[in-house]
Symmetry: C2
Subunit: 243 residues, 2 copies
Amino acid sequence: MLIQRPKPIVNQVADILRERIRRQTYLPGDRLPSESDLAQELGVSRSTVRTVLTKFASERLIIRRQGDGTYVNERVEDVASHYGGIWDFSRLIEANNYKPSIQTISIQERTATSDEAIQLEIIPQSNVISIVRLFCADDRPVIYATNLFPKELFNVDVNRLNGNLPIHEMVQTFYTDQISYVTSDIEATLVEAYLKEILHWNNDQPLLKLKEIFYSQEHKPLILGISFYDHATLRLRLVQSWG
Amino acid sequence: MLIQRPKPIVNQVADILRERIRRQTYLPGDRLPSESDLAQELGVSRSTVRTVLTKFASERLIIRRQGDGTYVNERVEDVASHYGGIWDFSRLIEANNYKPSIQTISIQERTATSDEAIQLEIIPQSNVISIVRLFCADDRPVIYATNLFPKELFNVDVNRLNGNLPIHEMVQTFYTDQISYVTSDIEATLVEAYLKEILHWNNDQPLLKLKEIFYSQEHKPLILGISFYDHATLRLRLVQSWG
DNA sequence: TAGTGGTCTAGACCACCCT
DNA sequence: GGGTGGTCTAGACCACTAC
């Protein structure tokens, strides 16, 4: 196996091994080659292989047993698609085996409410870009999401905004700062009439409401998101490590 | 600084540095000594220090900037208490600045329903221990939690069960297998009459319902938990890394 | 330019599991 | 005993940031 030097070797190794697990070159439950063998095959040091395997183990993609070997998690699909982020709704829809699509309902510039300004830590009444979108799973509406972007953070023309992009690509394109972590507050809420209509919600069951704040590495709030989530159609599952 | 050899050095280093951050020897926002300096001071290699700092960075306890230095996260308390698990309700209550207490409502042995048997991957109609508890924040009821333990997993007398223990201590005490990861399905639900009474819930607002399954390293389900969660009193906040 | 974190290597030794 | 993952070291070189 040839390793190209320009990109970090660890990432290349991670890509290769992740692909082998995804394509079932290593079947679920199978034992992987030993760390030394992998290192030799890929022409890298054992430490490099171990860095990758440690990351995979933390994602529950593999199981390591001292004195025995390293095994592919038998429930890769179960765990892999759900591990970590619940912020990328398109990916979440895909993970539930639906075809994701996005309808942009509105994009506009307006002044922030006082509460929004506090959440985003911006000057009261300063301008924000509001994007309202509807995420569908197999064309069935499942998430109604509002995202607020402080105007001052944009480094290019706001008019080039495209509602079809995932959040992290928007940030990559329009911001200087990049997303480092996300806080999500989860609540249950009754459904107001206008939402019932939009989400084709024909009963009185409650929905989930997510309030998410996306932060930069410097802890600056980059985006505020409020979403209404149909948990009956789209399972909201977290996978968390114990240790 | 003296390092004792019996315990893994990485853990010792982690304990020392975590303590310094907790006790604000390194103040929030402060720059830590360089990796080389720390390594020298503690008498370990730079790699060992880096292993620890990498872990801390993944917990958002610190921020690393190439070419600059390593800094203590200015919002340690914000992040540290919320990072990771939402399964340990007592800890969650503490993180929200309430005094946690637990009322054990019932402990009994019974046969599993067919659905429960499927979830726990046990033989239909085999026995489970059911523990129903009420978690209070400053003596106000906030979480109504049912936990099911397959009888066959117990390695000691069931009667020694004590409802006041956190889940992970119960498992440590009564099981051979230990908890490795947890899946949590989150839903919104209306509140039935008996629950309204127990939780002193005087309105028609919905609650959160959590279905959690605790797994061993071998992916064997160890515990099934169903909980009703008062999000109005107790904020359910996740902190997730982007990368 | 000096100092920081980021990447990577080569190799030693240990703890553990299998047969 | 032989092989596996777990721990730890020493040191090289690179990429980046501050000054």
